[in-house]
C-alpha cells in the first residue's frame, strides 16, 4: 500500500481550515479523520493486485540494435475495476540509458472481469540474455488517495543476438564465390580442387591444362577445368580470454571477432563447407558442431549471444587439444585471437605445430585503429612519445605475425571494420588456391 500525492495535497489544503477556523487539536482531528477514512475506503475499494493474472508473449530474440516487443496480458478477475500504474522491470541494458523510465512504465485500466494487453518495447544495448525482472503494479482506489501495491514475477527471456553488421559485405563476397565455384570454373589445379569439366581451348589458357587425350578424340583442343572442392571443414575458434576483453572503439575485441566469424560462416556455408564453432578460454564456452548449411548461422548466432570475455589467461594447450578433438578431419582452423607478443609467444607458438601438422591454420586478430592514429601523431613531445610507443607496439605485432607465418600460418590483422571482409577474402583466396 502507498499514499498518493493527492492525499498529501489535501492534507496541505487542510491547514487553511485548521488555521482560520479551528486552531487546536479539534481542528487537526476534524481535517485528518475524514482524510484517513477516505484513504481507508480507497484502500478497500482499490482492485486487489494479488489476484491479478499476468501472462507474457512476444519476441524471444532480437538482434542487437533492433527492438523487441514483449506483451504482458493482465486479467482482472475481481469485481472492482483496476486503475493502475504498472512497471515492467528489465535489466538496465534493455534500453538506451535515459529512456528506461518511459519505456518500462505503463498506465493501465482493466474493467472488472476483463483483460488488457500492454506492450513493453525493448531496445537492448548489449548482447546476451535479458531476463524479465518483477512486474510492480500500483492499483489506485476510486478517489486516488490511496493505493495497493504488489509484485508479480512473470518470467520471460529475450536473447539479444550479435548484430552481424558485416552482413553488408555478404553479397559482394558471394559474387566472388560464384566466380570460382560451379558456374565459373578455374583453371588452376591444386590440392583442394576437383575435376570439373572439359571445354574448348581459348587463347590465353594455360597450356599445361590441355587434356591431350581428350584433344585426340575430338577435332579441337580441349582443356580441363577445375573447381574448388566442396564439403571442406572449417573450425572457427574464438579466444574468449582476457585479450578479447580489451575495447577497440566502443566494443570489446570479442565482438569484432564474432562479427567476422559470422561473415565467414555465412560465406562458407554457401560455398558448401561445413562450419563448426568453438569458444574457449580455460574451458569450452560454446561449441557448435555438425550443423547443416541452412542451420549453421542461426545456431552460431545463438551460441554467441551469451559469450562474454573472461578476465583470465587463455590456456593455449587446452585450446589446441580441444580444437584437435573437435576437428578430427583435415580442416581450416580459423583462430580468432590476439597478436600480442606475450600470449602468443608463451601460449600459442609452442603448441602451434600440433595444429599445423594436420590442419590449415588461419590466425585473425583485431588491430586497434587508435594505435594506428597514435603512430602518426606529431607536433609536440607527448605526441611523438605516443607515436614511438605505438610504433614499438606495431613492430612487436609484426614480429609476432612473422613468427606465426614461419610456422605456415596465414595471419590476418585488421581493424574491426576491416577484419570481416579481409578474413572473407583470405578464405576465398585459400579456397581458390585449393589450400582448404
Amino acid at each position: 500500500m502507498a499514499l498518493t500525492g493527492r492525499a498529501a495535497l489535501l492534507a496541505a489544503l487542510g491547514s487553511l481550515p485548521v488555521g482560520l477556523w479551528e486552531p487546536g487539536w479539534m481542528g487537526i482531528l476534524a481535517v485528518n479523520t475524514p482524510l484517513a477514512i477516505a484513504c481507508a475506503c480507497d484502500f478497500v475499494l482499490a482492485a486487489p493486485v494479488r489476484r491479478l493474472r499476468l501472462t507474457r508473449s512476444g519476441d524471444t530474440s532480437v538482434r542487437l540494435g533492433e527492438t523487441a516487443d514483449v506483451t504482458l496480458t493482465v486479467s482482472n478477475p475481481s469485481r472492482r475495476p483496476l486503475r493502475a500504474d504498472l512497471r515492467d522491470a528489465w535489466p538496465p541494458s534493455s534500453w538506451p540509458s535515459g529512456s528506461e523510465v518511459a519505456a518500462s512504465r505503463h498506465h493501465l485500466t482493466v474493467p472488472a472481469g476483463e483483460r488488457r494487453r500492454i506492450t513493453t518495447r525493448l531496445r537492448p544495448t548489449r548482447r546476451g540474455d535479458r531476463q524479465a525482472d518483477r512486474v510492480t503494479i500500483r492499483s489506485y482506489g476510486p478517489l486516488r488517495l490511496f493505493t495497493r501495491q504488489g509484485i508479480h514475477i512473470v518470467p520471460w527471456t529475450v536473447r539479444v543476438l550479435p548484430p552481424f553488421t558485416s552482413r553488408k559485405h555478404l553479397p559482394s563476397k558471394l559474387a566472388r564465390l560464384r566466380e570460382l565455384d560451379g558456374r565459373t570454373s578455374v583453371l588452376q589445379r591444386g590440392e583442394g580442387t576437383e575435376f570439373d569439366s572439359l571445354r574448348e581451348y581459348v587463347p590465353g589458357d594455360d597450356t599445361r591444362s590441355i587434356d591431350w587425350r581428350a584433344t585426340a578424340r575430338q577435332s579441337t583442343v580441349a582443356v580441363r577445368t577445375w573447381r574448388p572442392e566442396r564439403d571442406r571443414h572449417i573450425l572457427l575458434v574464438l579466444d574468449t580470454g582476457r585479450t578479447s576483453a580489451g575495447r577497440v572503439g566502443d566494443a570489446p575485441r570479442l565482438d569484432a571477432s564474432m562479427d567476422s566469424a559470422l561473415l565467414l560462416a555465412a560465406l562458407a556455408s554457401r560455398a558448401g563447407d561445413r562450419v563448426d564453432l568453438l569458444a574457449y578460454d580455460r574451458r569450452v564456452r560454446a561449441l557448435v558442431q555438425g550443423r547443416t548449411a541452412g542451420d549453421v548461422l542461426p545456431s552460431l548466432v545463438n551460441a554467441m549471444a551469451n559469450l562474454e570475455p573472461e578476465l583470465i589467461e587463455t590456456d593455449a594447450r587446452g585450446l589446441t587439444a580441444t580444437a584437435l578433438r573437435t576437428a578430427p578431419r583435415r580442416s581450416l582452423i580459423v583462430l580468432l585471437t590476439t597478436l600480442d607478443a606475450a600470449p602468443v609467444e608463451e601460449g600459442l607458438l609452442p603448441v602451434l605445430p600440433r595444429l599445423t601438422q594436420r590442419h590449415t591454420v588461419l590466425v585473425a586478430s583485431v588491430a586497434d585503429p587508435h594505435i594506428a592514429r597514435m603512430a602518426t601523431s606529431r607536433g609536440d613531445a607527448e605526441s611523438v612519445y605516443d607515436a614511438a610507443a605505438a610504433a614499438q607496439a606495431q613492430s612487436e605485432r609484426h614480429r609476432t605475425a612473422e613468427q606465426l607465418r614461419r610456422h605456415g600460418v596465414t595471419v590476418v590483422d585488421a581493424t574491426p571494420d576491416e577484419l570481416a571482409p579481409t578474413l572473407a577474402d583470405t578464405y576465398l583466396s585459400l579456397k581458390t588456391a585449393g589450400r582448404l
Binding site: P23, G24, D133, P309
Partner: protein
C-alpha cells in the same frame, strides 16, 4: 473470464496477510516483551532519583544517607523543586537548604532573599558562586580562587564546627564584612564555611564552600556526618530546595515573550497541519514502484591502454633514445620494401643506405645520420627527428 484463465498459476510474489503475520510475529513479540520489560523496570525503579545532592538518590553523588540520618533524629526532610514551594515551606522552625544556588535566575534570587529574610529560620547555601552568594547573603563575597586542599580544620568558635572537627569543606572560599559572623575551616586565611546570624531573631545563614559533606560518598569521612547533621538538624523540619530548569518562575513573563507566544495560534496549528501534509508527501515519495534491477556490467578496458602507458613511461623517463630508436626502426622497415631491400636487411646500414641514396640521389652521410645516427639529446630534437623521418618517407613514396 474463461475457466482456463482462472486456473492460471498465480504469479504474485507479494506476501499475503497471513505470510506477513507469520514473518513479523517474532519481531512483534520481541518488541512487546521489550516494551513490557521497560515499563516494568521503570515502574519498579521510579522511586530512585538520580540527581546529585538529591536526598532521594542513593548514588555516590546523592544525599540520601544524610536525609536518612536526619529522619532517625526526628528531622523531616521535604524536597521542593520550585521557588513557590520553597517560599511556602520556609518557616522559623525549618532549615532551608539551597542545593545549587547558581542555577537560580536573578529574579528568583531576589525573591528567595526576601523569603530568607522573612522566615527567621536557618538557610544553608551549598557552594554558592560569587554572583549568587552576594545576592542571597549580602555582605559575603566569594574569592575567585578556590582552595587547594579539601580536608580542613575548623579553627573557629562555631560550636557545630568545633564538635565536628576536621571536615571536607574545601572548595569556594568566602570573605565577609559581618563582624559577628563565624568564619570556619579557613584555607589560606579565607573561610570555606561562614555562618552569618540574622540582624533580628535567631535565624542565620550558612554558606558552605563545597557540597562534599552532604554526598553519600563522603559522608563517612572525617567529621562530615557530624557537621552535616548539626548544620541541617538544628530545626525540626528541613526544606531541601533543588532548583530546576523547568521551574515556571525561572521564565521572565513580563518582557521576554518568545516568538511562539507572539504568533496567533492559528498559524501554529496551521503549520502543524502542514507538517502532517509534509509527512504524507514524504510517505508518498518514499514508496518506489518496485526495486532497482541489478545487472552484471561488462569490463571496460581499452585495448590501447598498455601502449598509452608505455608512451607515458617514455615521457616520464625522458627516453629520447628508445623513442628515437622505435621511430627509426619503423621508418626503416617501411622504407626497405620501397627501395627494393628485403625487410630482413632493413636494419643494416650497408644494405639500406646505398639503395636509398640511389633512389633519392641524396647525400649518404645525412641519410646515415637520420636513420642510424646518435639518439637526440632533448624533446625538441626528437620532434625534429620525427618530422625529418616523415619527410624522408614522403620523398621516397613520391613517384
Amino acid at each position: 473470464m474463461t475457466a482456463a484463465e482462472a486456473t492460471l498459476p498465480s504469479t504474485s510474489t507479494s506476501p499475503t496477510p497471513r505470510q506477513v503475520w507469520t514473518r513479523t510475529r517474532g519481531v512483534a513479540l520481541a518488541l512487546v516483551l521489550l516494551l513490557a520489560a521497560a515499563v516494568a523496570i521503570a515502574l519498579l525503579r521510579s522511586d530512585t532519583h538520580r540527581g546529585s545532592l538529591d536526598p532521594r538518590s542513593a548514588d555516590p553523588q546523592g544525599s540520601r544517607a544524610v536525609a536518612e540520618l536526619l529522619a532517625e533524629r526526628g528531622v523531616s526532610t521535604r524536597v521542593v523543586t520550585t521557588l513557590d514551594a520553597a517560599r511556602a515551606a520556609a518557616a522559623p522552625d525549618a532549615t532551608l537548604l539551597v542545593a545549587v544556588p547558581d542555577l537560580l535566575t536573578d529574579r528568583q534570587q531576589t525573591v528567595l532573599r526576601s523569603t530568607i529574610a522573612e522566615s527567621g529560620g536557618r538557610t544553608v547555601l551549598v557552594a554558592a558562586g560569587s554572583s549568587s552568594v552576594e545576592q542571597l547573603a549580602p555582605g559575603v563575597t566569594a574569592d575567585p580562587a578556590t582552595s587547594l586542599e579539601s580536608t580542613l580544620v575548623p579553627n573557629c568558635d562555631f560550636p557545630a564546627a568545633q564538635r565536628a572537627g576536621t571536615a571536607d569543606t574545601g572548595g569556594l572560599r568566602y570573605t565577609t564584612i559581618h563582624l559577628d559572623a563565624d568564619q570556619c575551616y579557613p584555607s589560606e586565611r579565607l573561610a570555606t564555611l561562614i555562618r552569618v546570624p540574622d540582624a533580628s531573631g535567631d535565624g542565620d545563614t550558612v554558606v558552605l564552600g563545597a557540597p562534599d559533606i552532604l554526598v553519600n560518598d563522603r559522608l563517612d569521612e572525617q567529621g562530615n556526618a557530624s557537621l552535616a547533621l548539626q548544620l541541617l538538624g538544628s530545626r525540626p523540619h528541613l526544606v531541601w530546595y533543588l532548583p530546576s530548569l523547568s521551574d515556571a518562575s525561572a521564565a521572565d513573563q513580563d518582557d521576554d515573550q518568545t516568538l511562539f507566544e507572539l504568533l496567533p495560534s492559528g498559524w501554529l496549528w496551521g503549520t502543524l497541519q502542514l507538517f502532517v501534509a509534509a509527512a504524507l508527501a514524504a510517505l508518498w515519495r518514499a514508496r518506489r514502484l518496485g526495486p532497482l534491477v541489478p545487472e552484471k556490467l561488462p569490463v571496460a578496458i581499452r585495448a590501447s591502454e598498455t601502449v598509452e602507458g608505455r608512451a607515458r613511461l617514455y615521457r616520464k623517463a625522458n627516453a629520447h633514445d628508445r623513442a628515437a630508436a622505435a621511430l627509426r626502426s619503423t621508418t626503416r622497415t617501411r622504407l626497405a620494401p620501397l627501395v627494393g631491400v628485403p625487410v630482413a636487411q632493413a636494419h643494416a646500414p650497408e644494405a639500406l643506405l646505398p639503395a636509398l641514396s640511389a633512389h633519392l640521389h641524396g647525400d649518404r652521410q645525412s641519410l646515415h645520420t637520420l636513420l642510424f645516427g646518435p639518439p637526440p639529446s632533448d624533446d625538441a630534437a626528437l620532434i625534429a627527428l620525427a618530422d625529418q623521418l616523415d619527410a624522408l618517407e614522403r620523398e621516397v613514396r613520391r613517384p
